[in-house]
Amino acid sequence: MKSERTSISIILLLSSIFLLLSLPVKAQERKIRFKSEVEKEEAEKKLQEKAVQKENVVFFQGLSIGADVSGLLNKAFGGDYTYGGISVQANLKNRYMPVVEIGYGKIDVTNEDTQIHFSTAAPYARVGMDYNMMYKKPHLPGYIYVGGRIGYTPMKYDYDAPTLVDPNWKDLEIPINYHDVKSNVTWFELVVGLKARIFKSFHMGWSLRYHSRLKMTKNENTEPHYIPGFGKGGKTNFGFAYNLIYDLPF
């Protein structure tokens, strides 16, 4: 009986020693496995998180309305034309921002040197989309975006100038009066801008715009000095917009 108890004790002791010896080995094995697979596991985890995030990104994230007030500032600070516009923009996945802009541009100016008078007042529209460059950081109070627009205006304009006198045969004179000249103008815009929250649902933003004229109804005698929504100056120019924006509560 005693010898039986002794042998059991020996077995238990040996088992304990074996267990004690085997534990660090197992821990070491685990550690080794963890080290070897940690990157893979983390990568998988990130992929899963991304997939979950993707699934969780709501497609339609709201509408906002904006008012472009840069045209009013332009007139107030000595510019010779004024314009104003409103915009409606949708937020899709906090990444794609389709937008419609409608406005009205106006000018009535006479050059002091040449005494040529030009006037027009016409609506314009732009349709396009912005791309949020910082869509991965929705927690930030603003974002930088790039975008494009197609613009259009169905304008009419007037030119009046002093009678044109032939520089060689002075008795030949031609009156210069062109009224209600119709012209449909289409242009493309490249946009880069910034939008930032100022208070709750109110944002402000500005954008630089490169305009490139695509199509214009040709007139033999005139080209408009100013095109509503496009601006002044030839086939290309730069523009600026300063917007006050409100996120609609739906």
Partner: protein, 157 residues
């Protein structure tokens, strides 16, 4: 931000102001060519060019070039009527008359630049006392310097 907006806005406005064309009086450009080789040539003898146009049933003359030599082209103004006549005097007795029928087209695009007078050439009639022929190569006369006519002469051996 507000001041920045104003600065940008005004800055961009000033950037958009266009430059006016340097050529403010569009003219018809004639190039002289040899009849046989169609190569540019220079008139070595002195010539005088006068121009005339019809103004209210009377013809008015103006001398454009006086006793110029060694030229290979001419830039001649067109009148604001529909017909301009040029006379090239080679000598006291030798001259050619060139009658250009054209349509004046006033053009304005920038209020800073004034009104330009473009023309569209409709026809040309001429005598062949010294010159051989004239060919219209470009009907549009604008503020861009482009050759409108080739005048062909036979080179004396």
């Amino acid at each position: 931000m507000f001041l920045f907006t104003i600065a940008i806005s005004l800055g961009l406005n000033s950037c958009s102001e266009s430059n006016c064309a340097l050529e403010t009086v569009p003219a018809a450009h004639f190039d002289f060519l040899s009849s046989d080789m169609h190569q540019p040539l220079a008139l070595t003898s002195e010539i005088t060019v006068s121009a005339s146009t019809m103004i209210r049933d009377s013809i008015e003359y103006d001398t454009i070039y006086n006793a110029i030599s060694n030229i290979n082209s001419l830039s001649l103004p067109l009148s604001y009527s529909t017909k301009t006549t040029y006379i090239i005097h080679y000598t006291d007795l030798l001259m050619d008359k060139i009658e250009v029928t054209h349509r004046p087209i006033p053009f304005v695009s920038e209020i800073e630049c004034g009104v330009l007078m473009f023309h569209e050439i409709e026809d040309i009639q001429y005598t062949t006392n010294a010159l051989d022929s004239i060919v219209i190569v470009n009907k549009e006369i604008t503020n861009e310097e482009r050759t409108n006519f080739h005048i062909y002469y036979t080179i004396a051996e």
